[in-house]
């Protein structure tokens, strides 16, 4: 390597880091450092106003014995297992119907399905709380009106229904982004392949599964990953609507982390749960990638 090109390479490196620096300060300071802290503190008995005490794996052992934690884990898994496939299938179906609509219709539909996301979790939660209300809620009124219910149900206060209600609301706030992604992916499908297949006599169904589906696979994978992460993080709805109740029937891991850390002030314990959650999500994402690759 000549002196000149070495000087050029050095200039390139210097410039690269100079441009990266502002962003790296924030990234390392407010993402990487807290992540390391999270793992580190999970080995301590840590709370407000006193020094942390090293306890080794005690937090993790306690977690394994904590029935509320297992209940929260079970609820989280239920939420993920129900909401991820439903969200994916629903948004693919909606997108496949609206993506080739003429004029502003497609973007109007896309907008409407995105509205619950933009509205924000607090506004969404409070209006659903009203709609699910025992006395003044519209669900009981309509349910009785069409003869489905014979008496008022306290939707969010009943162990049998609370988690289902949360999942329903979660679904309305999670299909917006996948629909946007699928519409754009379906519009990017290579039209010449579709036409060639049609000339060869393929019907709509075959066209979809043989031509379009493989081409939108990367989008499906992305949708799976983000929906899984979002469902695992379901928090605001729980905190605002049920606070984990009744009788812990709607506890999720995210809510239990919040509860342990900010209500019981068990920081180390909360962090240990955070680490477990992060590991679960990382493993799941890796599995999803692996499965998609082999397909």
């Amino acid at each position: 390597m000549s002196n000149r090109s070495r000087a050029l390479a050095r200039r390139e490196t210097m410039a690269g880091y100079a441009f990266l620096l502002p962003s790296l300060i924030f990234f390392v300071g407010f993402v990487i450092y807290p992540m390391i802290q999270c793992v580190y503190t999970s080995f301590f008995d840590s709370t407000m106003g006193r020094e942390d005490i090293f306890v080794g794996f005690k937090n993790y052992v306690d977690l394994a014995k904590d029935e509320i934690f297992w209940g929260a884990l079970k609820n989280t898994v239920v939420i993920v297992i129900v909401s991820v496939p439903v969200t994916c299938i629903f948004s693919l179906w909606v997108s496949s119907v609206i993506y080739n609509m003429k004029g502003p219709a497609c973007s109007a539909f896309r907008c409407i399905f995105y509205l619950p996301v933009v509205t924000g979790s607090v506004a969404v939660a409070v209006v659903w709380k009203w709609m699910f209300n025992n006395y003044y809620g519209i669900f009981n009124y309509v349910g009785k009106g069409v003869g489905l219910l014979d008496k008022n149900i306290n939707w969010l206060g009943d162990e049998r229904f609370a988690l289902g209600c949360i999942i329903l609301i979660l679904l309305t706030t999670s299909v917006g982004q996948p629909i946007v992604l699928y519409v754009s992916a379906l519009n990017n499908v290579d039209q010449s392949l579709v036409e060639a297949a049609q000339v060869d006599g393929a019907n709509k169904f075959q066209c979809f599964w043989k031509i379009k589906w493989p081409q939108i696979m990367p989008t499906t994978l992305y949708v799976l990953v983000i929906t899984t992460i979002n469902s695992f993080q379901c928090f605001a709805l729980i905190q605002l609507l049920t606070s984990g109740g009744p009788n812990h029937s709607t506890d999720t891991i995210m809510y239990y982390i919040y509860y342990s850390a900010f209500k019981l002030y068990k920081y180390g314990y909360g962090n240990a749960m955070g680490v477990v959650l992060a590991v679960i999500i990382a493993v799941l994402s890796a599995v999803q990638f692996k499965l998609a690759k082999t397909d």
Binding site: A15, F27, F113, V122, V127, K129, A236, A282
Partner: protein, 300 residues
């Protein structure tokens, strides 16, 4: 052949009808917020709900604006106790001011840092580039809420706890923006950068005059994306902000809900105040927003 054409048509009609019905259901909560906020107390608390307010009243908004007061703004001179406070206004107005400040600051800082970093990662070849990029992708896959406990302690140590900066800084640190701009900057032709270099342009000039105009659409998308997401980032606000003066609109409404859980009219007025501004912003910039979402997914 004819029968398949027929059945395709039937499928089409049925599914479009179903989607129209679903769209109405999806829009309904928002409709319920807005109409609810103008209903009288009798109509709110009626066992048979009024689908349309029989009488539009402003009592809920009057109640919302008369509940608490706070100074319109307060600016503290750094490292001193000198504070300038604005005139007293209803707390809800202060919450809106706080939310707008938070969202704008997060947006500005994110765009500025991400534009430079994304450009460097896409166009500069330097030692450690792959490591940085891998770290960014891995961090994005992890749930950001798990770092909230350490963040809380960090913010207390930095004396930023219960200030809007405690919410703003972690949003800026979140690397999605860098990732998005990198995808965009990949599209800058190498020849253009080469030409600028041969003309003797400095690194900064090359960035600001050649690269920046080309990644502008990406920055627009990121700006609107960050604005909307930080407006609605309730969890972070809940943990970092504790007083009426530092509250955001979402947090203010959530607290109000906890205190007056059955005054649905008042709460709907608050929800409308929180949701309508951001929905208007979304509708105006919808095109950029959609682009931001799809750009971020190009490589997954």
């Amino acid at each position: 052949m004819k029968s398949t054409a027929m059945s395709t048509k039937v499928y089409k009609v049925v599914s479009v009808t179903a989607i129209v019905i679903l769209a109405v259901l999806f829009a309904f909560p928002l409709y319920w917020i807005v109409t609810g906020s103008f209903k009288t107390a009798q109509e709110i608390n009626a066992t048979s709900p009024a689908w349309w307010p029989s009488e539009w009243v402003l009592t809920n908004y009057e109640k919302l604006f008369s509940k608490q007061v706070a100074p319109l703004f307060s600016i503290t001179v750094p490292f001193t106790d000198i504070t300038f406070a604005g005139p007293q206004v209803p707390a809800a107005i202060r919450w809106l001011v706080n939310t707008v400040f938070m969202a704008v600051a997060a947006m500005g800082l994110t765009c500025a840092t991400a534009a430079m970093a994304g450009y460097a990662l896409a166009k500069k070849r330097f030692f450690g580039r792959t490591v940085v990029f891998t770290m960014i992708v891995c961090a994005m896959a992890l749930p950001k809420q798990v770092i909230l406990i350490p963040l809380l302690r960090e913010m207390s140590a930095l004396k930023l706890y219960n200030t809007l900066w405690a919410v703003i800084l972690p949003i800026v640190g979140w690397p999605f923006g860098v990732f998005l701009i990198k995808q965009f900057a990949e599209g800058i032709p190498g020849e253009m950068m080469e030409a600028a270099r041969i003309d003797g342009a400095s690194e900064w000039k090359t960035f600001s005059h050649v690269a920046l105009p080309m990644i502008k659409p990406g920055i627009g998308a990121l700006a609107i994306f960050t604005f909307i997401n930080s407006w609605n980032d309730y969890f972070m606000q809940l943990i970092m902000l504790t007083s009426t003066e530092t509250s955001t609109i979402s947090l203010g409404i959530a607290n109000m809900q906890a205190e007056n859980s059955t005054d649905f009219g008042l709460i709907m007025a608050g929800a409308a105040l929180a949701a309508i501004p951001i929905i208007i912003v979304f509708l105006i910039f919808q095109k950029y927003f959609t682009k931001g979402i799809t750009m971020g997914a190009v490589k997954g």
